[in-house]
Subunit: 425 residues, 2 copies
């Protein structure tokens, strides 16, 4: 039988838009012995996680808990639970992950209308509001931070207008949560999906979601109680097996991603559903604890600082940034690949020789831009400085003409300014 | 702001039918720094995991990989991908998890017919085959090991007859995989779902699945390429947005649990789908590695040995076992709660005072039986002996009349016999 080697992953600086490096305290939490899923000690940890998620999402919502799957599972859970087949859905798209929302919304039966902006830009809220009045949708679904293009969409005006029209507003904040402000209540967002493997620096595997009573009302209207749990008798002919007409018409077509069942599992009744991912929950709780220790505002400022240093370094190197700067996503910086340079060769050399990973992009941007993430635990001074030095060396090796040494100095200057604003002037 | 305490889970012996204690080597693997999902070092680990899963499932199938979610996500992925709305489905049910299969199959649009056996028994294969000839289903879906009742269903004859009739045979082996023999190819099972948090002793969070080319054919016939990935142009009016009639008719209604997309992600093309759960994949790989080091056959024998010791101890204590002994699931032992005893009080005292967790059951068995799991890393001599001693003490404390001291001695006798068959006689 083949012998498989001991696990021994190489050291990596991960500067992609996710997954990013995991805080060592989160890694330690993952390694703790597990508790049973209904052990009171474990359910207390679940409840604490819900409390901390409410602080992360800046919401008073009752429901804030992780869906047990990667970020995409959280998006599908919200969409499959909130979209009734035939519902009119408006999805404004300005990058790859907007198409994913369309993809999922259509699969679960929504009648989707999209509007699109060229990649590299975002919508003026008025454009979205005009489309809302044209389409008259039941739901508006949008991406907050689009990692494929490195853009961030202002949401507050759209949320307010959706609320005035009694439309549900659903937001994919996978890339932004914990890195830039996400104001669930203030921006009138009815359901928000976050990610763990980006600005929270917890491994991929859970998708924190929150939704308010407006969204819950629709979820509960489509609720169907699981068989195995609603049968008091053995007999299959029992009337408990009969479904009401409403249940037959519109009930939620997933069991695993059914928010009505998930919230029962996360409620004091702890109605059995899946077996909670114990170790991942440990990791998420620790990631949230670290975030609250740092403080949300301080965390956002840290992300802004390292973004400034990175941009200063890239510009000193002569690199050109992709996209409209007025809507740049602070935690992802997109760089135009210089003409005649093989972007994948640069990425490969960075990874192999320097142990640093950056990303390419998708679709029409594939081979045209690099994407550099500055998220969560990866968003650190040593990472920025090492990346700039390594990228310079790799570009020189690829024959790019650039002012050697300038990039790291420019970034150091930003850090000096931050440490002592007077002295640096 | 509330201050959340350091994570410090209490020591537990987890003797439920899952989740069970995690092998310390798996916990260590979870704590290793992560790699990017497309890092060649990581994709090599993914490929090794597929190889080891084929050995676990005893199959030559091309496809054997984890779905990123708890066991239930694997079941739903297989069912939503293989069941076309309107398909006739036969589900023989002999416990709670059979009802779950029915629940999911109906939600995804199957026309489900069930046959049922009283809880505590299983089907004679002939009964299932007769139902197959009556119902003429496209799929037969069954549970292999039913943890709610502690029974195991013989599958080989059913699989053979399904194959002869060109019916797809899908098996939920969540509770049995890695603890008792599961012969995917020999028993003619077209798709099998395993679990991690039971006999593999990896935390809940991934669902290993395997399926053969017969199942894949149906999956591919229902494949729809994801938007964001199939659009070469920005324009939404591009013909690439049009769907063929076949696609419109029957495509898979989940994106996250779509096996056609998952297999592209696990293939050499690595087509982007979700962000693989890096840490969980480390854990699964390590759990599989440990399993192969022990050897499947030795592992099955270990589970049998500790089951024998547990049963000897329980019987010496005067406990009565629930269900038909001829179809007892080796890794779950169900005990009738003595008349007049509050089962939850006994469980609570075991957990609080002794740090040992056992389970209750569901539906009509709630409050009537305890379920003791002997799975994976939890299936150890020290656990069996400590549980028997603790259970005896707790039952005495609850006023049960029993021959004190006998249970542990009886179990020790089984272990002595095993160590030295001659001496013990």
């Amino acid at each position: 039988m083949t012998c498989y080697a001991d696990l021994a992953p190489s050291s990596r600086r991960i500067m992609t838009p996710g997954p990013v490096e995991v805080d060592p305290r989160v890694l330690r939490a993952l390694s703790y012995p597990i508790l049973g899923q209904f052990d009171p000690e474990f359910t207390a940890l679940m409840n604490e996680t819900m409390e901390m998620l409410r602080l992360l999402f800046r919401t008073g919502n009752k429901w804030a808990y992780p869906v047990d799957g990667t970020s995409r599972s959280g998006i599908e859970a919200v969409l499959t639970s909130l979209i009734e087949p035939g519902d009119r859905i408006l999805i404004p798209i300005y990058g790859r992950f907007g198409h994913l929302l369309q993809e999922i919304a259509e699969r679960v039966g929504g009648e989707v209308t999209t509007i699109e902006k060229p990649w590299g830009t975002v919508f003026d809220p008025e454009e979205v509001i005009a489309a809302i009045d044209r389409v008259k949708p039941e739901l508006v679904i949008m991406v907050h931070g689009e990692t494929s293009t490195g853009r961030i969409q202002p949401l507050e005006a759209i949320g307010r207008e959706c609320r005035r029209r009694d439309i549900l507003f659903v937001v994919d904040a996978v890339a932004t949560i914990g890195g830039v402000p996400v104001e669930t209540d203030e921006w009138c967002m009815d359901a928000v999906i976050g990610g763990t493997q980006k600005c929270l620096s917890v491994p991929s595997g859970m998708a924190p979601v929150t939704y308010n009573s407006r969204a819950e009302k629709k979820v509960l209207a489509r609720k169907r109680i699981e068989r195995g749990l609603r049968i008091p008798q053995v007999s299959p002919a029992s009337p408990d097996f009969m479904l009401s007409e409403a249940e037959q018409r519109s009930y939620i077509r997933s069991n695993y991603l059914d928010l009505s069942q998930l919230q029962d599992y996360w409620s004091p009744s702890r109605l059995n559903h899946h077996t909670e991912m114990t170790s991942m929950l440990y990791g998420l709780r620790e990631g949230l604890r670290i975030m609250l220790q740092e403080g949300l505002e301080a965390r956002f400022q840290r992300h802004r600082l390292h973004e400034r240093a990175l941009i200063a370094g890239l510009q000193a190197m002569g690199a050109s940034l992709y996209g409209d700067p007025s809507c740049k996503l602070p935690v992802v910086t997109c760089v135009n690949i210089p003409d005649g340079i093989d972007g994948e060769s640069v990425r490969g050399m960075l990874l192999e020789k320097f142990g640093i990973e950056i990303a390419s992009s998708f679709g029409l941007l594939k081979g045209r831009i690099w994407r550099i993430g500055t998220m969560g635990y990866s968003c650190r001074r040593d990472n920025i400085l090492q990346l700039l030095g390594a990228l310079e060396a790799v570009l020189l090796r690829h024959g790019v003409c650039l002012p050697a040494g300038e990039a790291v100095q420019a970034a150091l200057h930003v850090y000096d300014e931050e440490a002592s604003p007077q002295a640096a002037v």
